[in-house]
């Protein structure tokens, strides 16, 4: 889409885009280019000299069991976060759409966790699940569960999934409510007159019509699980125990900042960039499709 009426000035448009372009070049293109450049270098431990090694960093990564393990952890983590988050939010949104009385109150009480920083969300849940003093750990022990996420990898994973999902539910609920409101009333009423139960109406009308929203949220939740959950992990498990919750973005940070392996970390960054770009492309192609029908 283009404007029919435009202004003209030889210099003004450049002056107007200049601030954003400057910030983008300095803090976006330059660092991204450097990440790509470092990905092909190996530095000696003291940072004195570096050597161009082509794809050695990448091939080392792909042969490192550590890195492949981190890939698996990330896949499991994002499937769990997206799956749980989307199904719980869909249930809550459908229920919130159904009730007439108190709908706004419910909505308000469901959306506030969006405001909580991922790191703070991690700390809240880490406190509830703290092995020795947490209140939920206490209940779990009463129920006979041997709870200690400091030692057990699957329990650590459960903790970060719960904390990450908790924070994201409000976002999903808002989008599902918006999606539900755009479903034509007449369809639902016609089905109701024909005697379809709410359950039947949900599966035959609401759920199929919500699929664009669901797909959009799936992509958003996966991106969230990949990147925005850094705070959750760092504030709780720090990737442990024994790498059980070390998602890719945490490994980039760990290898680059803590282990000072610049080349390896940059190569991981490049792989992550490729993942994000493909996710974005998938989403845009889908959005275009949605506009067409």
């Amino acid at each position: 889409m283009e404007k029919r009426v435009v202004f003209s000035s030889p210099w003004l448009p450049y002056a107007l885009v200049a601030p954003q372009i400057a910030v983008t070049v300095v803090f976006f293109f330059w660092p991204a280019a450097q990440a790509v450049y470092y990905a092909f270098l190996v530095q000696d431990p003291f940072g004195q000299s570096s050597e161009f090694v082509w794809f050695q960093n990448f091939s080392e990564l792909l042969h490192s069991s550590n890195y492949l393990e981190s890939f698996k952890v990330t896949a499991l983590f994002s499937v769990l976060v997206a799956g749980t988050g989307i199904s719980v939010s869909l249930l809550l949104a459908v229920m919130a759409e159904r009730v007439v009385r108190g709908a706004l109150v419910y909505k308000t009480l469901l959306i506030w966790p969006y405001a909580v920083a991922p790191a703070v969300a991690g700390i809240l849940w880490a406190f509830l699940f703290a092995p020795s003093i947490g209140i939920v750990s206490y209940w779990l022990r009463l129920a006979g569960v041997d709870w200690n996420w400091h030692i057990k990898g699957d329990q650590a994973m459960l903790l970060v999934v719960v904390a990450a999902t908790w924070k994201q539910i409000s976002y999903n609920v808002l989008f599902f409510i918006a999606g539900l409101q755009s479903i034509p009333r007449s369809l639902l009423e016609a089905a109701a007159i024909d005697g379809a139960t709410p359950f039947r109406r949900f599966w035959t009308i609401v759920f199929p019509l919500l699929s664009p929203t669901t797909f959009f949220l799936l992509v958003i939740n996966i991106v969230y699980a990949f990147f925005d959950t850094f705070g959750v992990i760092d504030a709780t498990t720090q990737g442990g125990p024994a790498g059980a919750t070390q998602i890719l973005v945490y490994k980039v940070y760990n290898d680059g900042v803590k282990a000072a392996d610049l080349g390896g970390s940059a190569a991981q960054s490049v792989i992550l960039m490729i993942i994000v770009i493909s996710l974005t492309v998938v989403q845009f192609r889908f959005v275009e499709k949605k506009v067409q029908y």
């Binding site: 448009p13 885009v17 470092y38 790191a119 020795s132 003093i133 990147f227 940059a266």
Partner: protein
Amino acid sequence: MVENRPWADFTAHAILLIGVAVIAFPLYVTFVASTLAYDDVVTVPMRLTPGDQLVENYSQVLKAGSAKGSHAAVLPMLINSFFMAMGVAIGKIAISIISAFAIVYFRFPLRNFFFWMIFVTLMLPIEVRIIPTFKVAADLHLLDSYAGLILPLIASATATFLFRQFYLTVPDELAEAARIDGAGPIRFFWDVLLPLSKTNIAALFVILFILGWNQYLWPLLITSEESMYTVVIGIKRMIAGGDATSEWNLIMATAMLALLPPALVVVLMQKWFVKGLVETEK
């Protein structure tokens, strides 16, 4: 839809109440813990009714931080967080509202090139290019400064896109009328476009404020002096180590202080928040 199904309504309310309760439970426990004395917090099981240490705990963290973890006071951190959130929100809106204006209302060489340059930044979160960005900030002497906290985060395309989409819906007649009346582009922007953009600015502001307040990885890297900590970083540094050695009553008081400002923004400005959230993702 009018339909009489008492059982379905009852189930809906029951599920919603359970959902709301589970979602609110961590907040409630956090609040209770922030009102207890240290000995009560580490007693197993912790009591679930508020204690009487509310004023003591909060004034302790605001003025002096924790005793066992980081000793940094939380009040300056809240101020840092506030400046960072405001800086990110205002900075992003300011640079993107004018660049969107240039891209929509002018034809100039390289227009598409600039557009794509901004567009690409939509794709890459700062987490991915964190180490080179840190090096750039260090080279520019931006470590431990507000400029360093804010500037790298305002390079993003979402706001530009929102304004671009909005400008495209503004009727051409307005620009035509302004030109006939002899108004130049700056006058048109200031007197016509900006007032029309008010609701979009408000909606975007709410989202960006929360985004800025909740930043974690970037401030973690770029701040090493206690005086520059934001509250989200500060709270993490209070955790001393083992479960029982951290002063959870103080940590939880800080957590309340860290989450209340953005939560209030969401609840009090709900209308703008929902608008901003739904529109920035379109």
